[in-house]
Symmetry: C2
Subunit: 437 residues, 2 copies
């Protein structure tokens, strides 16, 4: 790391693969102007690791660069015994703000907000407000886009944008210029819900109020981008059939990686063992008609795939607030239509496949038509069932109080595999009795 100076760009490129000491070295050799930007661009957990490795003097310098909400996030990532030491490095007013923020759940509006917003009084004139804001602007405000109008009890009465102020007559009182219908969120609201409110109203920032309507802070849209990305990552990883990693792929230790994957994989394996039991149950049928065994993977995977589609659609629609639990019956009807249609399409493909193979290779014996019909009928049943089960599983899981995103594609596939076997062998039992069975 000595000799040649790396730029922030270059350090960013290799950051993921550097060890803790190398990171400190790479960080310290950057120019101060670049290092600023670089440090602010790191995630809270990366900032925390870096700060822990720095000397006391440097630690104080960088910690004080952070806005109170970001400082709170970083200190929450620091090992418990060191947290007090970190807090003590902040100046007194900031320390009080940060401690207050740390009391909120990290994923609630209160844990995301910044207490540094521009405040006005309704009695002020527009001219006074502009001068007052120019003064406030020299402090580290989180956004200059909106100024919030609070009464003497700190209750939120209205909002004005800079644009409103510049466009209004200088002598008018703020109370007459401000917008009184302010969209706000309670401090306990979940961050995903806050993100939806901000996106829906196309806001740059949203005020957070307590139960009595007193304004506590603002959440800005740039904090929301991170939330949206992080929540999507969590959902995607859960949908892939594992626990969310919480750290970037390359920075996750092998131990944590295997642990987060082995749990669900083992649970699914135990569930899938039921297929061995189901198959045992039909062992005689298989012994008499080995041809039946040939289509087992095809049929159960078709059920699994259609279920995986349905569950993915519903989980994403739930996460975006497009469907709620009370829509379940309308979804059943939609998915029933979709499932039957998809089942018929696959059944037709399956039928053609068996008849063509029989014509070409005589693979399936004298009862090939009955076998083909058994496979086709089973496909309609399994795909329809897979689709319904896949779409309802997220609702069932939410009912039980878990995150619907745990209804992963592999989970649905496992569920449908067992029931798919039962459907298949029962159809075979009815259609092939007297001929093959």
């Amino acid at each position: 790391m000595s000799g040649v100076r790396l730029t922030a760009e270059e350090v960013r490129d290799v950051w993921a693969i550097l060890g803790p000491q190398e990171r400190v070295a790479a960080f310290q050799q950057m120019e101060r102007s670049e290092a600023d930007d670089f440090f602010l661009g790191l995630s809270a957990s990366e900032q925390a690791t870096l700060l822990v490795a720095l000397s006391n003097g440097e630690r104080r310098l960088w910690l004080r660069l952070l806005a109170p909400d970001d400082a709170a996030d970083v200190i929450q990532q620091v090992p418990e015994p060191q947290r007090h030491e970190f807090l003590d490095m902040l100046d007194e007013p900031t320390r009080r703000e940060v401690s207050a923020l740390m009391a909120y759940a990290e994923d609630a509006a209160g844990g995301l907000m910044s207490p540094r917003f521009a405040r006005l009084r309704p009695e002020m004139s527009v001219n006074e407000a502009i001068r007052y804001l120019e003064r406030q602007a020299q402090e580290r405000l989180e956004t200059l886009y909106y100024a919030y109008v609070l009464d003497r009890d700190q209750k939120l009465r209205g909002v004005v944008s800079f644009r409103d102020l510049f466009a209004a007559l200088g002598a008018k009182p703020i109370g007459e210029v401000m917008h009184k219908n302010v969209v706000s969120v309670p401090e306990t609201m979940d961050q995903e819900a806050v993100a939806r409110v901000i996106a829906q109203h196309d806001l740059h920032a949203i005020p957070v109020v307590d139960e009595e309507g007193r304004m506590k802070g603002i959440v800005t849209v740039d904090d929301i981008v991170d939330v949206v990305e992080r929540e999507a990552t969590e959902d995607i990883q859960k949908l892939g059939g594992m626990e969310a990693l919480d750290t970037p792929y390359m920075q996750t230790s092998m131990r944590a990686m295997v642990k987060k994957r082995a749990g669900w994989l083992s649970a699914l394996f135990l569930g899938e063992m039921l297929t061995a039991s189901a198959m045992s149950h039909y062992e005689d049928e298989i012994a008499r008609a080995v041809v039946l065994a040939l289509f087992v993977p095809l049929i159960i995977s078709s059920g699994g795939n259609s279920g995986s589609q349905a569950t993915t659609l519903i989980i994403r629609a739930m996460a975006l607030g497009e469907v709620t639990v009370k829509d379940w019956w309308r979804i059943v009807r939609r998915e029933l239509t979709a499932g039957v249609s998809l089942g018929i399409i696959l059944a037709a493909l399956g039928l053609v496949r068996i008849l063509v193979w029989q014509a070409l290779f005589h693979t399936y014996g004298e009862h090939y038509v009955k076998v083909a019909v058994t496979v086709a009928v089973s496909l309609v049943g399994v795909v329809t069932w897979g689709t319904i089960a896949g779409s309802m599983l997220p609702f069932a899981i939410r009912r039980l109080g878990f995150d619907p995103a745990s209804a992963s594609a592999p989970f649905v596939a496992t569920l449908v595999d067992v029931s798919g076997l039962v459907i298949y062998f029962n159809v075979a039992h009815v259609l092939l009795r007297g001929s093959l069975l």
Copy 2:
């Protein structure tokens, strides 16, 4: 809809289930102040549908409420023949801006940007700049947070924030106050990449420049929230084994829904047919040892599940820019370790299961130890192979020029099912020769 007045909140709740005419009625009965907010909160495609259903006079009114970048998005959603009619409703300067924006690919920085940003000259004094910005602020600027400093050729020379201006001495020239290291993006950059740059630098807005460095517009962080959510939805739906819907679940027609799902489902079905061929190939082995067939679903699903985990992890890490194609060899090594570990865990579970069942129910015949070992060894092989194949598939697909997110969990499962059978029956062939086979 007559008589009782619905609030914007109430209309929003039922919006998804209203037909086009009901939507118009519900929209028109809202109070104008509420309707404004409501309209701006709709997606571009909902705005377009609504506008098409409104009278000419109303259409003009609402269309003119939109910022040029939003107007361009809406007009792109209007059926081709009507687009000109819509464009003609805009005032002349806006029409020119909108037409220019419509020339960009919708998912590039140029298609996302707004041409309405605050401009300054480097020669201006700070005081002149503040007065000039107050005047510009009365137009519909996209953000007041940053002002961009352009030279006579419209080339981007620097940026100042309002905070900088208020903190600086009034007589200083802007050229001395501005930050010269401006992060900007080219107009052709993909919107996902733009989102990453904004998130990484924690910006409120980012300037878009053409090849010669001339500034064309800004992309603001609130547009990015939508992009991030939409891209995550697309990736999640593709990971679920279907085409991305492009419309909310409840508003997608049954025809479109079945079409978007049937394509991949049929493709996967055709792939999965190879399992029937593979099974046929081992028909003699199955006939001699039916016990082998019992574990087929268990073994192939374990490969599918571990592959689905690996592919999901890699696709998300790619989307977030955490890993790139050049990391493939490091990922192979990581996934090899993870795959073998996971395989050994499942093999141990499988071994215990078979031995316990044998002790309890005598299900698996005299050669049960050999059967158990066959299953365990196959599991290590299949899970390791599933993990490697799942992690490499996104790279292979990107190499072929497709979206890596198409490497869905079902796709990987299908791929691994066939190869899993081959591994299983070959292991059986070696271990059970002379006893069961």
